[in-house]
Amino acid sequence: MRLSLLPLCVLSSACVAFAQSEANITIKTLAAQMKYDTQEFTVAPGAKVKLTLINDDEMPHNLIVTKQANDKGLALAQTAWALGEKGMELHWIPKDPRVLAATKTIAPHGKEEIVFTAPTEPGDYPYVCTFPGHAIAMNGVMLVRAGGGKLGEGPKLTEGRYQLFLGKWEMLPDFGQLKPLREGPLDENLIGWKFDDYKNEFGIRFTGNLEVKKEGDYTFRLASDDGARLRLNGPTILTQDGIHPPGTGKTATVRLKPGKQTVQLDYFQAAGGAELYLSWSGPDFGETWLTKTKLESAPKKQKSESKTGIPLIVKDEAVIYRNFIEGVGARGIAVGLPGGVNAAFDAELCNVALVWRGAFMDAKRHWTDRGVGFQGPLGYAVVKLDRNVPLATLSAPDAAWPPAPKDLPWGDWPAGYRFGGYTLDKQGIPTFRYTYNGVSVEDRMQAAPASSSHGHTGAAMQRVISLRSEKALAGLYFRVASGKRIAEGKNGIFPLDEGVSLQAAGAILRGEELLMPVTFKDGTARIELSYIWNH
């Protein structure tokens, strides 16, 4: 059977080499994430590209493929934004030689197919949504590569070795505790075995290295009969334990940095069929088998969650996500607020550490596999605020702010602070509560109406800090912000980051700190702040 097919394969691949290459590309917009689901695709020079954009979002989007550039299409997008009032009717497509191909404005849940010829010159051609404000996050790149359109094979294992164990198991044993019967290098660095003497009741530990050249998401697929477990750089990423047929396998996608990755694949065979398949694919190569044999006719489609992530969508009610948050800490509480703004509170320092616009959080990191690591915001225009305590009693107006606690995991918790929790209103918006040396504090954020300038829509978040104290506290200050970026403001509005300002009436700029003196009246005090994204 295989022999008779072989000449055909040779023939057909030869034919393809002479024909114009074709590429069918489908790109979707991700709901509430201001993102395309595909950030990169590869086509051959001069290929006929059929590109379908499916808009799964609740707002309109387009897609423009541009000439070669290293700016993710931002310059072209800015040209589009300059169309101003005319933009809408022109589908935000400027008359500009940089435009290679473009879809029209696609309404929510609509789609459009465009056909164009890829440039003959290999290179990186960005594509971007040119709706005002979208381009920053909503972009990708078309890679024109010789031999492109179909991804080639990736690297194989290096330094592949095996250890053979004998035993009768129903589940994978810990081979580390067992003595191998024999061990040695793998033939051609391919995972497999040829033990004429052992057909049943054996186990093998395979080890080797994989070289990653480019940082990105790599997908591993494992199928086995009977059990197998794949460890990558230590942790288990795929398990198919127990006694079972191979099926279509399980996949896991991991983000890898360039360099050597260590692979350990444990496998055991009880009785009956004995099969083992392992592959990997990456941003610049297709599914590449690391085993001697390939798993044929298996569906290539991944689980949707591992591909698109698990975006937490904020609608009419606030969404809370308490987890390890990048830029916040191990006791982070992120809040997605109705109105398109978000904040993350640090329950250890009792302060807001981040505010941002757009999409809230992607829970994929923590809600799949073992949930390793810290996850940052999914949206854009992230403003990093203090990672220190919000309140301090200063002995003099020029006394130094207490240094940020150094070793929180070991208990260097800020003196005088106690996180109290939060209450939710009817919209699910939290009011955080904490105490500081007898002062009861509430901290609440909500989306505020944004001012509009030059036709670009901005955003704003209002933050109200309410304090109560039985006794008067002299020298109590609230630190609104800190760092080199803060500049002298006008009318209580201070420039913070590029395109972001902070409204803090009554705040005093003290070097690189913006401080608000807290004065109690009838035992209460109130601080109002606004974070304003100008466009």
Partner: protein
């Protein structure tokens, strides 16, 4: 009736096979077990992912379910074909243990003990209070915290996993801390490795499960005696770090002596004063790989096992049964296979006041035999008692087995109807251990008691500290049935006088 008898006899013959492997018979085992217990899936809210991490029975017959994704769902009629689900809370940090007390729902989240309440009656919690956050976390996924409420004083006992498999990079990793309702807290035990669940005995004593790994030759059920050391010294770093910062160590203030790696638990018990040995070893690979939550049956409505403990198992998707006794002041006892074939990796186990066992969990990160990514199931006793070893008690020269049904005097009095094996594990800083120091005790005599339901086994020798696997493969009930599960695994920390 005839059909049932036959199928049990057939299955029993399969289990009676010597050795640990029960290969190819797992479907038969499940089938035989289901003659006595109906296991059914609880319909979950459609489209939602409920990786069950905690279970609690609420007033009015409602079931509260916490999930690894940080939600709490309440089913107002969990036994019906279409339970009515309502999401009570979301956004929690992987709560592993919930309890209802004093009008609040209490949860152990990774960073703290929280209590929450619905104050406006819309079925959703709107107040979330930090009761206490006395331990450190650094963002390592392995720093799990499991909690359970003491029936004695309402304190929440939190058993805190190490950082990673073998490190301690945050305060109180590897310790147990109880948090009182007023927010005061204190450390009560050290030496924890990787817990899977915690629970309380009817007498108010706390127990937890710890997973095979560093300093754990096998997984086991451990007694959390106040002031005890549980065997893994990795967390000792907290003694120095707490001292630097003036953080109180309370009843565990005295750092235990460091045990010697490569030794045996029974040996090191003598060297480490605070060391409480595992009450019941859950032999790794035989009973499971990853024990989790637990519950007692105090109702007597879940079969003839009133007062016994049921322990969840994640990897094998099982629930095991444990009989405990106290000998020379130390808890010990036997574990038995009980129910297998659950849908996913069991994490939480709950007994309702009506004697229905709920269990659920997920296979995320480690895999489970059940095959489903998450599941919630209930087991209901059919009212018919399986022929099982009911209790296994240590005696100065052997064991006393009681059975759930009268035994056939002929087979029960024949020593050849029984098997005995004994072994222990290396107590070491490395990962796990093979079964070592194997002993083959000889059954010298088997004497049926006057009650007709118990048998006194005399062994030629008992080995202190060893797991004693005692099988009664040849014993028949007076009805002629073989045992549903023929073996018990008894951890002989102490030999009674």
């Amino acid at each position: 009736m005839h059909r049932i008898t036959l199928s049990i006899a057939a299955a029993s013959a399969l289990f009676a096979a010597k050795g640990h492997a029960q290969k190819a018979s797992s479907a038969d085992i499940i089938k035989a077990e289901r003659e006595f217990y109906t296991v059914s899936a609880v319909p979950m809210p459609p489209g939602e992912v409920l990786e069950v991490s905690g279970l609690e029975w609420l007033p009015g017959g409602k079931l509260a379910v916490s999930t690894r994704r940080g939600e709490i769902w309440v089913a107002s009629n969990p036994a019906s074909e279409a339970p009515e689900w309502k999401r009570f809370a979301h956004g929690l940090h992987e709560p592993l243990g919930i309890s209802f007390h004093d009008g609040w729902l209490w949860a152990t989240q990774r960073p703290e003990v929280t209590r929450m309440k619905d104050t406006d009656g819309d079925g959703k919690a709107d107040v979330f209070e930090n009761v206490a956050a006395p331990w450190g976390i650094n963002g390592d996924y392995h720093e799990y915290a499991f909690g359970a409420r003491s029936p004695k004083d309402g304190s929440i006992w939190n058993v805190l996993c190490l950082t990673g498999s073998g490190g301690a990079n945050s305060l109180f990793r590897g310790f147990v801390i109880r948090v009182f309702p007023d927010g005061k807290s204190e450390a009560v035990a050290s030496g924890v490795r990787s817990p899977g669940g915690i629970g309380f005995a009817p007498d108010g004593e706390a127990f937890y499960t710890d997973n095979q790994g560093l300093w754990n030759g096998s997984s086991s059920l451990k007694h959390l005696k106040v002031g005890s050391f549980q065997g893994n010294p990795t967390g000792f770093k907290t003694f120095d770090e707490a001292a630097k910062r003036g953080i109180s160590m309370g009843v565990v203030a005295k750092k235990p002596a460091t045990p010697k790696s490569g030794s045996r638990i029974d040996t090191e018990r003598a060297n480490v004063e605070e060391f409480v040995p595992p009450a019941v070893v859950l032999p790794h690979g035989i009973l499971g790989h990853s024990p989790t939550g637990m519950c007692y049956d105090l109702t007597g409505k879940f079969g003839p096992f009133k007062g016994q403990l049921f322990v969840g198992e994640q990897t094998f998707s099982n629930v095991q049964r444990v009989f405990l006794e106290k000998v020379n002041g130390v808890y010990q006892g036997a574990v038995f296979h009980f129910l297998s074939g659950f849908g996913s990796g069991n994490i939480a186990v709950l007994m309702t006041p009506d004697g229905v066992l709920y269990t659920g969990g997920s296979d995320r990160g480690w895999g489970a035999k059940g095959g489903k990514p998450f599941a919630l199931e209930r087991a209901v006793w059919n009212g018919k008692a399986a022929f099982e070893i009911h209790e296994m008690r240590a005696k100065p020269d052997g064991f006393e087995l009681t059975f759930t049904q009268p035994v056939d005097p002929k087979t029960a009095a024949d020593p050849a109807s029984y098997s005995a094996d004994a072994w222990t594990y290396i107590y070491q800083s490395g990962y796990g251990s093979p079964e070592v120091d194997k002993v083959k005790p000889v059954i010298v005599s088997a004497t049926v008691g006057a009650d007709g339901k118990s048998v006194r086994l005399k062994l030629d020798k008992l080995t202190k500290g060893h797991v004693h696997a005692i099988g009664a493969e040849g014993v028949k009930s007076t009805d002629g049935n073989g045992l549903l599960h023929a073996k018990g695994y008894y951890t002989l920390n102490e030999i009674p006088n």
